[in-house]
């Protein structure tokens, strides 16, 4: 009678399986590993909480976690603000070119990480362009620490890399707010800026929140950028996790760190969503 429903169910199945496999399975494996015991560089399925004890009590890891959250929060916040204005301008002011400008955003999501990260290295390196330029013009006498590899360099580079990720959801949300609604606000006496704040921001707030969350998660899980730009000291928790899965060869500890990161992010972002939802009401 209703062949469409059966067909739909059959077609939904592969997608569900695909996404459970993609996200659910690795996480389960990770959770399982985090309770394994490490013996002589081998992992045995004996239940232990040791990995979590190490992950939570070690001063070293706490420093990494706090640095990671700080870097990600700053990066995500800057991206949310910049992405809002970028989306606003391409959606309303430069409406005629918006497809092209949006295409730029998409392209820059995956275009040449390799080239760009080396460009950043040459800017922020020990002998980097940033310091050399300032020194040669006589503005500074000695290389500034800020402009060397380190937290600042990581944040600047990650803002550059993840900005498109922040633009996507905000741009999408703004497509539902017609220029007509902005005109209506102007007609009623709001300036352009007033309309942006009172009409566009509330209506696109969900997109802004999603942008913050996306970039927060993505940067908190980063290990490549800090590895290449962070020097030896200013690395993030992702580097410790990668190390335990790689050269460190302590997968259970790596898994416990990863699970801890996931839980911390979930709690923080859950709180954020609650606050935003209340604010919107």
């Amino acid at each position: 009678m209703k062949p469409n429903r059966i067909v739909a169910a059959l077609q939904l199945a592969p997608a569900s399986v695909y996404y459970s496999a993609l996200f659910g399975a690795p996480l389960l494996v990770l959770v399982a590993y985090s309770f394994y015991t490490t013996e002589n560089f081998d992992f045995v399925p004996e239940f232990t909480l040791d990995n979590y004890v190490t992950a939570w009590t070690s001063e070293v890891y706490r420093t990494y976690f706090i640095r990671t959250l700080r870097i990600s929060a700053i990066t995500a916040a800057v991206i949310a603000v910049v992405a809002f204005f970028y989306s606003y301008v391409i959606t309303y002011t430069l409406r005629a070119h918006r497809s092209l400008l949006y295409f730029f955003v998409l392209v820059s999501m995956f275009g040449g990480y390799l080239v760009r990260i080396y460009a950043w290295r040459s800017i922020f390196g020990t002998e980097g362009i940033a310091n050399s330029a300032l020194m040669s013009t006589g503005i500074i006498a000695e290389p500034l620490d800020l402009l060397r590899n380190g937290e600042f360099a990581i944040i600047i580079a990650m803002i550059n890399f993840y900005l498109p990720l922040g633009i996507l959801p905000i741009y999408a949300a703004m497509q539902n707010v017609g220029p007509g609604q902005i005109e209506a606000a102007q007609d009623l006496g709001s300036s352009r800026l007033g309309a942006a704040g009172k009409i566009v921001l509330p209506l696109a707030l969900r997109g802004v929140t999603v942008a913050f969350v996306f970039t927060f998660i993505a940067t908190a899980a980063e290990w490549l950028t800090p590895q290449l730009l962070g020097g030896t000291e200013d690395q993030m928790i992702g580097n410790r996790i990668a190390y335990q899965f790689g050269a460190g060869f302590d997968w259970p500890l790596g898994a416990a760190l990863a699970v801890t990161l996931v839980v911390v992010l979930a709690v923080l972002l859950g709180a954020l969503f609650t606050v935003v939802r209340r604010w919107v009401r």
């Binding site: 209506a184 606000a185 102007q186 007609d187 006496g189």
Partner: protein, 359 residues
């Protein structure tokens, strides 16, 4: 910030307005004066420049040349948010995240009207437009007709010097549109606000307006009362656009001492401007034509090809020597079945003059 109109000046004056987008002219040398308290409609087909003209009055577009005066003050360069006019948008453009009450109060709040006064004026206006019961609903939970009323209230509550309406009823269905036409008109009469109403629907314009301006291709072709526009159109385009038209050519001759148009051997009345020996183009509205039994003298002769029942009227298509004519008769009249031979005639004052025929 008193909202009382300055009754010594016209509400809106447009002088020599020109506006082009790139190379494409949208409005060409337009002069227009709209009086205080008038219900004025700009009527024309899509792309005729009527919406551009309205948006220039609102301050969303700026003319390339010419000036705009509001209550006698030049506002040509004043942007929308500092002009004391309000616009009702075609798609309403309510703020979906706000309640009806907050939507309507938005303009007052922006202008820092005291809280208590906002509440009073919003409540009063919601009652006026008949959506008092929905004040605390979210704007996106309303039906089309309710949204329309809220959009009207949101504009009127600011007591604008003129209310601009951009095809505000075009999204509603037929029945509701007809009801809203009468309501809009009655609200306008009650408040005495100047309304400038853009529409492409000639019936709507005729019904509601004190005066109508007909636009085509960026030009204002005629300004007049509904009767002037319908009865003595200044231009073939106006004649055709407002109401239906049977247009045809006649040969102008002296018949029995009178200057008449001759068609199919029968004399018909022609405008006094028509001169003997020329071919003249005239038109008669379908409802001004009479249809009767064949053989009548001084009439056109034809054969009914189609009879359509419109409820309140009968509509005939009649094949004649000057082409197919459309004739309307009351539903109670004698019916002429398709195939019957008929005569068609009309009163002298039913003739619309379209000028000398171009050969």
């Amino acid at each position: 910030m008193s909202a009382t109109p300055d009754s010594t000046s016209p509400a809106i004056e447009l002088v020599g307005i020109e506006k082009a987008y790139g190379q494409a002219p949208a409005v060409r040398h337009l002069d227009l004066t709209i009086a205080q308290g008038e219900f004025f409609s700009l009527l024309g087909p899509s792309g005729c420049g009527k919406t551009t003209t309205l948006r220039m009055m609102a301050g969303f577009e700026f003319p390339d040349a010419g000036s705009i005066r509001l209550d006698g003050h030049d506002v040509t360069e004043v942007p929308a948010h500092r002009r004391q006019v309000n616009l009702v948008f075609q798609k309403y453009e309510l703020f979906p995240h706000m309640t009806v009450r907050r939507n309507v109060g938005y303009g007052l709040k922006v202008r820092r009207v005291p809280r208590a006064e906002i509440d009073d004026r919003v409540d009063e206006m919601l009652e006026t437009v008949g959506v008092g019961a929905f004040a605390d609903r979210r704007a996106d939970q309303l039906s089309g007709g309710q949204q329309q009323r809220v959009a009207l209230a949101r504009a009127l509550v600011n007591r604008p010097r003129a209310l601009l309406l951009d095809e505000p009823l075009s999204a509603l269905d037929v029945k509701l549109r007809k009801r809203m036409q009468l309501e809009l008109k009655s609200i306008q009469e009650r408040l005495g606000t100047t309304f400038v109403y853009v529409t492409h629907d000639q019936e709507e314009a005729l019904l509601m307006s004190d005066r109508i301006g007909i636009m085509n291709d960026g030009r204002l072709l005629q300004v007049g009362t509904p009767r002037e526009i319908y009865g003595t159109p200044a231009d073939p385009f106006v004649a055709d656009f407002v109401g239906e038209l049977n247009a045809f050519e006649v040969e102008v001759r002296k018949v029995g001492g009178r200057v008449s148009g001759v068609v199919d051997g029968s004399p018909v009345d022609v405008p006094s401007s028509a001169s003997t020996g020329k071919r003249w183009r005239i038109a008669v509205r379908p409802e001004r034509m009479e249809v009767g039994p064949a053989g009548r003298k001084d009439a056109l002769h034809g054969r009914v090809t189609e009879l359509n029942y419109l409820g309140h009227t009968l509509q005939y298509s009649v094949e004649t020597a000057v082409g197919e004519l459309v004739v309307r008769a009351g539903a109670g009249d004698v019916e002429r079945e398709p195939g019957s031979a008929v005569s068609i005639w009309w009163a002298a004052d039913a003739v619309i003059d379209l000028g000398e025929a171009t050969p």
